[in-house]
C-alpha cells in the first residue's frame, strides 16, 4: 500500500467512535480509501448521527468565514497583479484576470457560499449573519498585515464593535429550540 501525498479537505459521513462533540475530537489523520492510503491531509470526520448542531455550526461557520476571507484576500492579490479592469470587456481582455490568485479566490468564495447554504439548513439566519461579519475584521487585519494598508481609529472602533456584537450573538442558540434539543 503506497502513501499518496494529497491535500484534500473532505467531510465524511462515516460512523466513527467516539462521537464528535467538541473541537478537541477532530482528528487529522491518514485513512485508507479504495486500497490507497491517503496521507498528509486533514480528514474532518463528522459522524452525522452523533455530531451536535453546535459542532456542525462551528465547523461550517469556520468554512464560511475562511472561504470568504481568504477568497477576498486572494482576489485582491490577483487584481493587484492584473491591474484595473478594462473598460471594454472581452475574452482577450479578461486573460490577465485568469491568474492563479483569482482562480483560487473564486474557488474559495464558492466554498464559502456552499458552506453558508448548508449552514442555513439548520442555523438561524439572524444567528449566522452577524457572525459572518467577522470576515470584515479579518479582512481589515489581512489588509493591515499582508497588504500593508493603514487602519484608521474609526476602523479600530468598527473592529471593536463587530467583535463585541459577535460575542453577543454567540451567547444565543444557533437554531430554534426544537432543533437544538435533538
Amino acid at each position: 500500500m503506497r502513501a499518496v501525498p494529497l491535500v484534500i479537505f473532505s467531510v465524511h459521513s462515516e460512523q466513527y467512535s467516539p462521537p464528535v462533540r467538541s473541537w478537541k475530537d477532530f482528528n487529522f489523520r491518514a485513512r485508507s480509501h479504495r486500497g490507497i492510503e491517503i496521507a498528509l491531509f486533514p480528514v474532518v470526520r463528522i459522524p452525522p448521527r452523533f455530531a451536535s448542531i453546535q459542532s456542525k455550526t462551528k465547523i461550517f461557520l469556520l468554512l464560511v468565514i475562511a472561504g470568504n476571507f481568504l477568497g477576498s484576500l486572494f482576489l485582491r492579490l490577483g487584481m493587484r497583479d492584473a491591474g484595473p479592469l478594462p473598460s471594454a470587456l472581452s475574452l482577450g481582455a479578461l486573460e490577465p484576470f485568469l491568474n492563479g490568485w483569482i482562480v483560487a479566490g473564486v474557488a474559495l468564495m464558492a466554498l464559502g457560499a456552499v458552506s453558508q447554504l448548508a449552514l442555513l439548513s439548520w442555523a438561524d439566519l439572524s444567528y449566522v449573519l452577524p457572525l459572518i461579519s467577522v470576515v470584515y475584521i479579518l479582512a481589515a487585519f489581512g489588509g493591515w498585515v499582508i497588504l500593508h494598508e493603514s487602519i484608521s481609529a474609526a476602523r479600530w472602533g468598527g473592529i471593536a464593535l463587530i467583535s463585541i456584537g459577535a460575542v453577543f450573538v454567540t451567547r444565543t442558540r444557533p437554531c430554534r429550540q426544537s432543533q437544538a434539543v435533538r
Binding site: D124, L129, A154, G157, V169
Partner: protein, 120 residues
C-alpha cells in the same frame, strides 16, 4: 442615483439570503456529508426555484454594486450594504419566525454600526 442603487443592492441581498434560508429549511438539515450525498443535494438544489431566484438576486446585486462602484467611492458603497443586516434580521423575525432575543438585536446592531465604521 446612488441611494437607488444602494436600495437595489440591499433588497437583492436580503431577498437572496431569505430565499436561500427558505429553500434550505424546505430541504431539511444537511446531515450526510458523503460526496455522493452532497452531489445528490446539489442536483436537487439546482432545480429548486428558490435557489435559482436567490442566485438571480445575488447576480443582480453584484452587477448593481459594480455600477455603484463606478460612480461612488468604496467608502460610501460598503457601509451602505451594512443596512441589510438589520433589514434581514427584521425579516428573519417576521417572515421566518426566528427567535430574535435582545442579545441578537444588540449584537446585530453593533455589527451593523461596526461595519459602517470599518468602511469609512
Amino acid at each position: 442615483m446612488n441611494w437607488i442603487l444602494i436600495a437595489i443592492i440591499v433588497a437583492c441581498n436580503t431577498a437572496s439570503d431569505i430565499l436561500q434560508c427558505c429553500a434550505m429549511r424546505e430541504e431539511g438539515e444537511v446531515r450526510d456529508f458523503h460526496p455522493s450525498a452532497l452531489r445528490r443535494l446539489a442536483a436537487r438544489l439546482l432545480h429548486n426555484r428558490r435557489i435559482i431566484a436567490s442566485v438571480a438576486c445575488m447576480t443582480i446585486a453584484f452587477f448593481v454594486l459594480m455600477a455603484l462602484l463606478s460612480i461612488a467611492d468604496v467608502s460610501f458603497a460598503v457601509p451602505a450594504t451594512a443596512a441589510s443586516y438589520l433589514v434581514e434580521i427584521l425579516l428573519a423575525r417576521w417572515l421566518l419566525h426566528e427567535p430574535v432575543d435582545w442579545k441578537r438585536w444588540t449584537g446585530a446592531t453593533m455589527v451593523a454600526c461596526g461595519v459602517f465604521l470599518l468602511a469609512i
